[in-house]
């Protein structure tokens, strides 16, 4: 595959990605202030976040009991730290550290 072909693929992806992001702004521009849209905009993010958490977890290797435990421990550590200190970086770092340590010990 030469560079021009790869560039064509990337440009195609760029156009498709921008289309998905621009769609609501083009199609629904006049109704942004509607109270219904506001309620929708406030309640959708937490729901999307639940879906993204589950998506992220389902993408992790979960084929052995050890890896399931590692993911569970990482998530529990992240939740606990964040509820205690509400420090985003700390929660993410230590949570990931717990996961990576357990994976390294188990594998």
């Amino acid at each position: 595959m030469d560079n021009t072909e790869v560039l064509m693929v990337l440009v195609t992806m760029a156009v498709a990605t921008f289309m998905t992001r621009a769609f609501p702004f083009v199609a629904l521009a006049g109704v942004a202030d509607h109270p219904l849209i506001r309620r929708f905009g406030r309640l959708l993010p937490p729901m999307v976040m639940v879906v993204l958490v589950i998506y992220g977890i389902s993408g992790m290797p979960l084929d052995q009991i050890g890896s399931v435990l590692a993911v569970a421990s990482g998530v529990v550590a992240t939740v606990a730290l964040h509820c205690l200190f509400r420090h985003v970086l700390l929660s993410i770092f230590v949570g990931t550290g717990v996961y990576m340590t357990l994976i390294a010990l188990g594998g």
């Binding site: 990605t17 921008f18 629904l28 905009g41 958490v53 589950i54 992240t78």
Partner: protein, 229 residues
Amino acid sequence: MTAWRTAFRASLPVLFGYLPLGMAFGVLFAGLDLSWWLAVVAGVIVYAGAAQFMAVGLLAAGASLPDVFLSTLLMNARHVVYGLSVLDRYPQSGALKWYLVFGLTDETYSLVTSRSIPDPVNRHAFYGWLTALNQSYWILGCGLGALLGVTFEISVAGLEFTLVALFVVLLIEQWFQIRRIEPLLVAVGISAMALWIAPDQFLILALSAAVVLLGWLVRKEDVWTTPRS
């Protein structure tokens, strides 16, 4: 505090999420024996994590352009949802609006929706910096990863958990904003169904179900209002 500083602080967790993730993409991309700078181009013009990882697979498989187009649309269809809920926060016109629209990734969306800035001038500057900073981290990660990938054989085992942790943290932040368990339970139910019906199409299925269900529920004026504390 200036918009820039507020944005920089807010963007730090994304830095630590995007740098390793962008590098993971770069390393994989370099594995295809392609020029490293093409990974940078991907970060600049596509700027979509999941889709770029998919691109590595599509490039490896030699997929046709229509296939690339369709699968990217599907993979990124969730962004339609994101746009819907930032319609009233983003500027209504101008170049900044379209850059913000272009840069509306999962993480930028999460940050934009997890805090409220009343003053529109500061708000738009904050969104602008936040989007630009996040994209610069991503581009840096893609480039570094591709450079490393063409130089060494490296493993990033376990680092991908950063993203799970980031989403978990952002979910907790959302919880502090709404303090209602019902929408979260509905989302768990929808996700379970989507995982059961079509795990390969999980994101698009779960997100469209969430949009349809919530669209139906919000017609009631008092649905899931946040209790005053």
